[in-house]
């Protein structure tokens, strides 16, 4: 298997099938924490870590526990709880390890449990059938790179969006459009722009 597979997986998850603008995953944090660019960065960092580790864990759980026992139908509950446990562990670890890091990221971690992007990417990795295409072992690498790409895409979009919103704050917007409505339209225009990237991979 050539390394381009990973590159393609990352680029396609980041730009072409962007989690927020194309797959509509994680719209809540996209609108919720994008008022300031600092909070956008903090959230993206937390999402990136949990998304990559979470998709590895759910992948392993699916192919080494659920599938051998033929109980794939419980994957929904299993995935959400595994991700939730992961978030708890990470939060606890950060609390103990670094005051600074906790101050920076601590607030975003509990939010991640209800961030559908994480669970959505975990589910997508299974549904895409990487394991069938590349084998379970290499499939995991591809799944991990696509999760990493998705997180990069999330970070890119949420950061760009937050900088636009900072300017929108100062802009003279009709009162009915102030806040979320105009932001959604801006997001729609961003989605149009991303539509232009379709077909590069």
């Amino acid at each position: 298997m050539s390394p381009t597979v990973f590159f393609v997986a990352i680029v396609s998850a980041m730009l072409i099938n962007n989690v927020v603008l194309m797959r509509f995953l994680g719209v809540c944090p996209f609108l919720g924490v994008s008022k300031k660019s600092e909070t956008a960065i903090g959230m993206s960092a937390a999402v990136m870590f949990v998304m990559v580790v979470g998709s590895i864990l759910t992948y392993l759980l699916y192919y080494f526990v659920l599938e051998p026992f033929e109980i794939t139908y419980i994957s929904t509950i299993a995935f959400i709880l595994i991700i939730a446990s992961l978030v708890q562990l990470v939060e606890m670890f950060i609390k103990k390890a670094s005051k600074k890091l906790y101050k920076a990221l601590g607030i975003y971690l509990p939010l991640i449990v209800t961030n559908c992007a994480i669970l959505g990417i975990a589910e997508t990795n299974i549904r895409e059938g990487y394991a069938a295409e590349y084998g379970v072992g290499q499939g995991m690498l591809v799944a991990t790179s696509s999760a990493f790409g998705a997180a990069l895409g999330f970070a890119l979009v949420i950061f760009a969006f937050s900088t636009i919103r900072e300017r929108l704050e100062a802009a003279d917007v009709p009162t009915a459009w102030k806040g979320i409505p105009i932001s959604l339209v801006v997001a729609g225009i961003m989605a149009l722009a991303f539509l232009g990237l379709e077909g590069i991979v």
């Binding site: 603008l21 194309m22 797959r23 509509f24 995953l25 994680g26 719209v27 809540c28 609108l31 139908y73 419980i74 994957s75 929904t76 509950i77 995935f79 959400i80 709880l81 939730a84 449990v113 209800t114 961030n115 559908c116 994480i118 669970l119 959505g120 589910e123 997508t124 549904r127 009709p174 009162t175 009915a176 459009w177 102030k178 979320i180 409505p181 105009i182 932001s183 959604l184 339209v185 997001a187 729609g188 225009i189 989605a191 149009l192 991303f194 539509l195």
Partner: protein, 247 residues
């Protein structure tokens, strides 16, 4: 008298979720599915039905066990309850309506991450009795479903000039509500991602404008009322003074 007041309270528990506290248009909860599965009226309604089931059921169970679950593990217990119902709904949809299951895709398992459900469990069901929680869940999820239907209908109509039914939901009959023959004027962009964002944004602005207009009118009415009261008071004063003067 007291009974009547309580009944009115029950009704408002149900109706407040429909418009006043609409989860999508007022609280902006559950925007992921509101964007992703509303490319047509039917998928929006289908998602609404699933959420009605999950939210009502989880509200009932949470309020049933509210005294039994220790405060310390409240949140994880709720997550488990919700995840269980979502798994059940997932399997049920696949059995009852495979086309709907295919078209909603990963957004059925993602109901579990819908902030609306967790939010209602912690802020309402854990503090109210079973009946009120069930009504609250039903009302809130109906509000969600109505909003989904509105967005779905808007997008489908703009994109195709028609509103179809019977394609995804097992209704037993198929057809189109409006057939405008509007194909040459259809705007395909509205079934796509960009259209979703824009349609929700425009609806939000419309509701905001209506809200502001109402507030404005209420303010004018109140101002008038105060003005009237002032005039009345002045009138009375004058009359009193006149009476005093005449006396």
């Amino acid at each position: 008298m007291a009974k009547k007041k309580k009944d009115a309270g029950k009704l408002s528990v149900f109706t407040k979720g429909l418009i006043q506290q609409n989860p999508i248009f007022v609280f902006l909860l559950g925007l992921c599915p509101a964007l992703a599965v509303t490319s047509s009226l039917e998928t929006g309604v289908g998602m609404g039905i699933l959420v009605i089931f999950v939210l009502t059921a989880s509200n009932i169970v949470v309020s049933l066990f509210k005294n039994f679950i220790p405060e310390e593990i409240k949140i994880p217990a709720y997550i488990v309850i919700i995840a269980t119902f979502v798994t059940i709904v997932d399997l049920g949809t696949e059995a009852i309506s495979p086309p709907l299951y295919d078209s909603l895709g990963i957004f059925i398992p993602l109901i579990v991450a819908n902030c609306l459900i967790m939010g209602r469990a912690t802020s309402f069901a854990s503090q109210n009795n079973v009946g009120r929680s069930a009504l609250d869940g039903l009302g809130m999820s109906l509000g969600f479903g109505l909003a989904m239907a509105l967005i779905g209908a808007t997008r489908e109509f703009l994109a195709t000039g028609e509103l179809a039914y019977g394609v995804y939901l097992p209704l037993g009959f198929e057809g189109s509500i409006i057939g405008l023959e509007a194909a040459p004027f259809s705007m395909e962009v509205f079934v796509g991602p960009a259209g979703g964002f824009i349609v929700i944004g425009v609806w939000l602005a419309i509701f905001n404008a209506i809200g502001q207009h109402r507030q404005h009118r209420r303010k004018i009415a109140r101002d008038r009322w105060i003005e009237k009261k002032k005039q009345q008071a002045a009138e009375r004063k004058r009359r009193k003074a006149m009476e005093g003067g005449s006396a």
